[in-house]
Amino acid sequence: MNLTEYVSRVGARLAHLPTHTRVLLAFATCVLLMEVAFRRFGPRSKAYARWTKGIEAVGAVWTAVLLSVVYLVSVGPVSLFMKLTRKDLLDRAAGDDPTFWKAHEANPLGAVAAARHQF
């Protein structure tokens, strides 16, 4: 397969994609091209600084959206389960215990092996 044939095949495949996918792809391509162009021709320009700020703002919004979903989908159900089973991971209830000191648990791996891990 030569290059022309390859490009026309990719073009045909893209033409069959749904409109919204094509719009998203076109948008992503434009962003990529703009970024490459700025880096090549005006890495210290004010326009590039503004462009970066704008893209970071979009990133912040998306991060918030994604983290909201993660929070609701992962933290929410576990929390609900804990509440239903009346388990408090933070041991907040005061109670009348004569002491609130807890034994320091030595790592079962032993001190030297444990030091190689972040846990």
């Binding site: 929070y71 002491t99 190689r116």
Partner: protein, 580 residues
């Protein structure tokens, strides 16, 4: 064997280099980056300590990190689960930082320390604190108490150190934390958390602990053994972006004080109350630890160990006869702790000599200082050792305020005569002059005295050394002629100075005594409010020129403010530093 210790990604990042069990250099990143409480990876500090040791990253045998990031992450996730859905704001703010940085500590260390290929070892946060105090202390065997905000899960722990071994017995776990309790009140009183806790301590003597009983009844459930739980109904630090909530405000009859606003008796009384609570908890903990260990020597570290009023009571009111507090008791000291833990405890190596001073930072020779001063167009005189001492003592006795820059910079939050502003403690106006015209800080804040160690018991109610300015003692009744370092309750946070630890500084105070009969001078950190303590001659000269200091002593160079050319500045320096 070269071991590098690193602490970072929370606050006060630092690096320390240990060679064959002896600290070659230790430095907080903030001093080099000029960003107060800098929490970023301490790239500059690492570069400095390696340079001081005359090695490159490839020559290191081990690198230690001061806590266990994954355990900390587990604690955070558990907290989010336990406080769902109120923890959403905190989750959204914290997660990007964890995902981007804090979960990749080994990768970051390897990238920053190329071509280092050796092991990266992790110690528990409170083990790092414990090692940072015990393994550099003069004690062969001692009880250890560490108290801070929070590490992984532990917020306080105690154990015993013997030789090179450390065993931690028990701990108190998050969210029940004395450090965070104190920080919550710091926040409520309008000060910056993880930064201005010492201001609450300084504010306390102005008030009466009228809320003590209420706090102990409703907010803190304290047992006789010093263990406690907090009533989390009053706090939001476990789920939110603030420390206290509406219930806390209702309890104290109003919202948190807005920063930089006027303070009233109400704030004084709240500060006095939380300070008394803090002291009560630390005292009970210390008594319990003595009961458990039967040892008479105690080592302390963790941010709460910087509460020198509580430390003073521990030595006076418990059965511990000797106390060693790590000069960099906060997280910065964790870098020293983990390096020692890796070398001594894990490596089973005997301990090196005990610390006698905290001068572990950068040093600048006369040639470097002169080169800088000439470049800046400064006017100066070069004096001999003897003349610099005599001239400076005379200037202080004449009421001048002196910037004092000598030898290696201190490691830890206190200026101990390496990077200090010095003045005459006999002048009752000196405190206001220093607060308002030199440091540009709140008027209520006291100043600390440096006193010749052998004269300390004569002037203060103390019978032990306090070389790191971490003990508070009363000024003796017949010696209250030093009003500028005597707090409203007649206490002082003193530094005892020996010739062995700091010859030039000792001689300066001795000369001041010869001139005035007083072996005490005011010693405050060489900086303005919000600025890290100066590190280089450039930092010192800028600070000198920007404030109303009268003279600057840089090594053997004496500068008179009146003779200096005006400083050409292109920035408004007061906006450069965020107020603490």
């Amino acid at each position: 064997m070269n071991v590098l210790g690193i602490s970072c990604f929370y606050h006060d990042s630092a690096a320390a280099l240990l060679r064959d069990g002896v600290v070659v250099a230790a430095c907080q990143e903030e001093r080099l980056s000029r960003k107060k409480h800098d929490q970023d990876f301490p790239a500059r500090a690492v570069k400095y300590v390696l340079k001081q040791g005359g090695i490159g990253p490839g020559d290191l045998d081990a690198v230690g990190f001061y806590d266990k990031p994954l355990l900390k992450f587990e604690r955070m996730l558990s907290t989010y689960i336990a406080t769902f859905p109120r923890s959403f704001g905190s989750f959204r703010k914290a997660m990007p930082v964890w995902i981007k940085e804090k979960l990749w500590v080994p990768s970051i260390i390897r990238k920053e320390l190329r071509p280092y290929k050796g092991p990266i070892l992790f110690a528990e946060h409170h083990m790092s604190h414990a090692a940072s105090c015990f393994l550099v202390s003069p004690f062969e065997e001692a009880a250890i108490l560490t108290v801070d905000g929070v590490g992984e899960w532990a917020t306080a722990s105690f154990g015993v150190g013997k030789g090179s071994d450390i065993t931690l017995f028990k701990e108190i776990r998050f969210p029940h934390s004395l450090g965070l309790l104190y920080s919550a009140f710091t926040y409520y009183l309008g000060f910056k958390v993880n930064s201005a806790e010492y201001k609450v301590m300084g504010l306390a003597p102005y008030g009466k602990p009228v809320h003590f009983d209420r706090i102990m009844k409703e907010i803190v459930h304290l047992n006789e053994d010093g263990s406690f739980k907090l009533n989390m109904k009053y706090f939001s630090y476990d789920y939110g972006l603030t420390m206290t909530n509406g219930a806390f405000s209702d309890f104290f009859g109003g919202p948190p004080r807005k920063p930089e606003t006027w303070m009233t008796e109400r704030e004084f009384d709240i500060a006095a109350s939380i300070q008394k609570v803090c002291e009560e908890i630390v005292l009970r903990m210390a008594r319990y630890i003595h009961e458990q260990t039967r040892l008479t020597r105690l080592c302390m570290a963790g941010g709460v160990a910087l509460n020198c009023v509580a430390n003073g009571r521990v030595i006076r009111e418990t059965r511990f006869k000797e106390l060693f507090v790590q000069p960099a008791a906060g997280d910065a000291g964790g870098s020293v702790g983990v390096a020692h833990y890796v070398y001594n405890t894990l490596g089973k190596q005997p301990r090196g000599p005990a610390w006698t001073h905290a001068y572990l930072g950068p040093e600048y020779g006369d040639a470097e200082i002169r080169e800088y001063l000439d470049g800046a167009g400064a006017t100066y005189r070069v004096l001999s050792d003897g003349d610099i001492v005599r001239e400076t003592a005379r200037l202080i006795a004449d009421g001048n305020v002196i910037g004092w820059f000598q030898g290696r910079m201190e490691f830890g939050p206190r200026a101990l005569g390496g990077r200090s502003i010095l003045a005459d403690p006999r002048d009752p106006k000196m405190r206001d002059i220093l607060n308002m015209k030199i440091k540009f800080r709140e008027g209520f804040r006291p100043f600390a005295p440096s006193v010749l160690a052998d004269k300390a018991p004569e002037w203060f109610e103390i019978d032990c050394d306090s070389p790191y300015m971490l003990l508070v003692a009363q000024v003796r009744e017949g010696k209250r002629c030093i009003p500028s370092v005597t707090h409203v309750d007649n206490s002082a946070r003193l530094q005892t100075v020996t010739r062995e630890a700091s010859p030039l500084y000792h001689d300066l105070i001795a000369e001041f005594e010869r001139l005035t009969g007083v072996p005490v001078i005011i010693n405050t950190s060489f900086n303005v409010r919000g600025e890290p303590i100066v590190c280089t001659p450039h930092d010192a000269y800028l600070c000198f020129m920007r404030t109303n200091m009268d003279h600057l002593v840089l090594g053997h160079h004496l500068l008179d403010k009146k003779q200096q050319p005006p400083l050409r500045e292109d920035v408004d320096w007061r906006t450069q530093f965020e107020l603490d």
